[in-house]
């Protein structure tokens, strides 16, 4: 099986603090994969390592077999890695449409495109059409800072999607959404996956994880504690302990004793 993305013995320290320790996992092409774990487990850090915001302290990160650690962060979206952010990072002073058009940059960054007006361009039409498909066409000209949270969350996904990535990484896409919105999001992500896009999703909503993802990697304190089918993740003793803290608490008492 060919892995689209693979991490091999990846570690990340901030000063003396080990945030990711020796983590390895593969994201198979076409997978709908979840990356889960308790707060502070290191999920967002993994995204930051893959997208190049941080450099790994050790280990290798490969996209289709190619080591990407030396590739500048801005070039990675062109290689097919796009992401959304846990705390929405849309450009507050840009309109919805402009935010989406920014997501096209990796495909539209040559000098000719840079210096031609966006109005009436094919890029603008493409962004408008995508927003319409997503039911977000009520707001194209609106500055995003003024829009409701759920809408902005969706726009971030659209901005990542318009880069036509191979791997779409979403950091807690359902956070702050109600049940209906979450159900819509799930359908939407299933549609995206059906077009051949590989998903890597960080999510705390376990029912969304179960219904959306076929595979899960679980992190706890920066270490991988589970890597397998989503259906069995909640039966795994290590995972249960990580979330409920039973053995961890027990271990502490034995350590003290």
């Amino acid at each position: 099986m060919t892995a689209l993305m693979s991490l091999t013995n990846v570690s990340k320290n901030f000063g003396g603090l080990a945030v990711i320790t020796d983590v390895s996992f593969d994201v198979p092409a076409g997978a709908r994969m979840a990356l889960i774990g308790p707060n502070g487990a290191g999920k967002t850090t993994i995204f930051n390592l893959i997208s190049g915001v941080y450099q790994p302290s050790a280990g290798e990160i490969r996209l289709e077999g190619q080591e990407i650690s030396a590739i500048p962060s801005r070039e990675r979206i062109g290689l097919g890695i796009a992401r959304s952010f846990q705390n929405i990072r849309l450009m507050p002073h840009l309109s919805v449409l402009e935010n989406v058009m920014l997501g096209q940059q990796a495909r539209a960054g040559n000098l000719g495109n840079m210096l031609s007006p966006l109005r009436r361009s094919r890029w603008r039409r493409e962004a408008e059409e995508l927003l319409e498909q997503m039911g977000l066409d009520t707001y194209p000209g609106e500055v995003v800072a003024t829009l409701p949270y759920g809408i902005r969350k969706k726009i971030e996904v659209v901005r990542a999607l318009v880069a036509k990535p191979k791997l779409l990484m979403l950091d807690e896409p359902a956070a702050g959404l109600n049940n209906t919105e979450t159900a819509n999001l799930k359908d939407f992500l299933m549609q995206i996956a059906a077009t051949g896009v590989t998903l890597l999703v960080v999510e705390h909503d376990m029912s969304l994880v179960r219904s959306l993802c076929d595979h899960a990697v679980v992190l706890n304190f920066g270490e991988k504690i589970y890597d397998g089918p989503t259906a069995e993740v909640q039966k795994d003793p290590d995972v249960l302990e990580a979330y409920l803290g039973t053995r961890h608490a027990g271990k502490e008492t034995t350590d003290v004793a």
Partner: protein
């Protein structure tokens, strides 16, 4: 046209071009407090070429503008490594260095200044201002303009979207330097005299204020800011004496009223500046405001937000 209005229009045109020169870097998130330095380079470049070689005006202004642009390009690399208040100080220091070099140079007349033989009348700067305004509006409507504004909002995410943020910022800084240089060249030929004292720190501060108070989100901002702050002192020149004699007559003071001291105009300017910062911290003209004018009608037909 009367000499008074020709003078006002000339100053207004030069200030608008100058403001666009500072707007470009500011729109990418880089505060430039070195405006006077770029303007001085353009002014002295044009003045020197005109006085020493008698070159035609388009050449003198063009070369001055190019030197200012190239200077902007070259210093952008070290300068844009600094951030926030350090960048402000670094650009300010740049202008001081330019001023100091000119002041100590015999070639450029030192403290005596240079007289500029070739004269241009008001419609040259006004035409230049129209062209520059159209150019900046065009630039802001392109993907280049989009990436400039994106870099202003969030450099990290702009980079992750595939934008070479550093290149965009350097380009904006250099083009801005060239525009400030153009303003300087036009100044030199409009007033036939340059002296380094007229490119002082206050000039850098004022032009940055035009931009910040006019608004940095759209190309309308610097136009509004430069126009407002250039015209306001002129308006006050006539309004203030009237106001003073009004107050005097209300208070029952008889006889001729002496004209108010000129410094009152700057007191009012300062007070207005503070008021603008309090009430419109994002500038006079904002995206949302343009949106209100432009999009409401087309949106009105559509259904409620889903």
């Amino acid at each position: 046209m009367s000499g008074y209005w020709a003078g006002i229009l000339t100053i207004l045109a030069i200030n608008i071009i100058f403001a666009y020169g500072i707007f470009l870097p500011v729109a990418t998130g880089q505060l430039n407090l070195g405006g006077a330095g770029f303007q001085a380079i353009g002014a002295y470049g044009a003045a020197f070429l005109s006085a020493s070689f008698g070159l035609p005006v388009p050449v003198t202004i063009g070369v001055g503008m190019a030197i200012a642009g190239i200077t902007g390009f070259v210093i952008a690399f070290p300068l844009l490594r600094t951030r926030g208040v350090y960048l402000v100080l670094a650009t300010f220091a740049f202008a001081e260095v330019v001023g100091g070099l000119i002041l100590n140079s015999d070639t450029f007349g030192g403290a005596m200044g240079l007289s500029v033989p070739a004269f241009i009348d008001w419609h040259v700067p006004v035409t230049a201002a129209v062209v520059v305004t159209l150019f900046v509006f065009y630039l802001m409507s392109t993907r280049f303009g989009l990436t400039m504004r994106a870099a202003h909002d969030d450099e990290v995410v702009t980079d992750l979207m595939g934008v070479n943020v550093r290149s965009i910022q350097v380009a904006a800084f250099a083009i801005g330097g060239a525009l400030a240089g153009l303003a300087g060249g036009l100044y030199a030929h409009s007033f036939n005299f340059v002296e380094i004292q007229s490119f002082n720190a206050l000039v850098s501060i004022y032009v940055l204020l035009y931009v910040l108070l006019g608004g940095t989100q759209t190309a309308w901002g610097p136009l509004a800011g430069a126009t407002f702050f250039t015209m306001l002192p002129e308006a006050l020149r006539t309004v203030l004496p009237a106001l003073k004699s009004g107050i005097y007559s209300l208070a029952g003071v008889e006889g001729a009223v002496p004209a108010p001291d000129d410094s009152w105009r700057f007191v009012i300017l300062g007070a207005l500046t503070i008021a603008m910062m309090v009430f419109r911290p994002e500038g006079l003209i904002t995206r949302t405001m343009i949106e209100r004018f432009g999009f409401h009608r087309s949106r009105a037909g559509k259904g409620a937000p889903a």
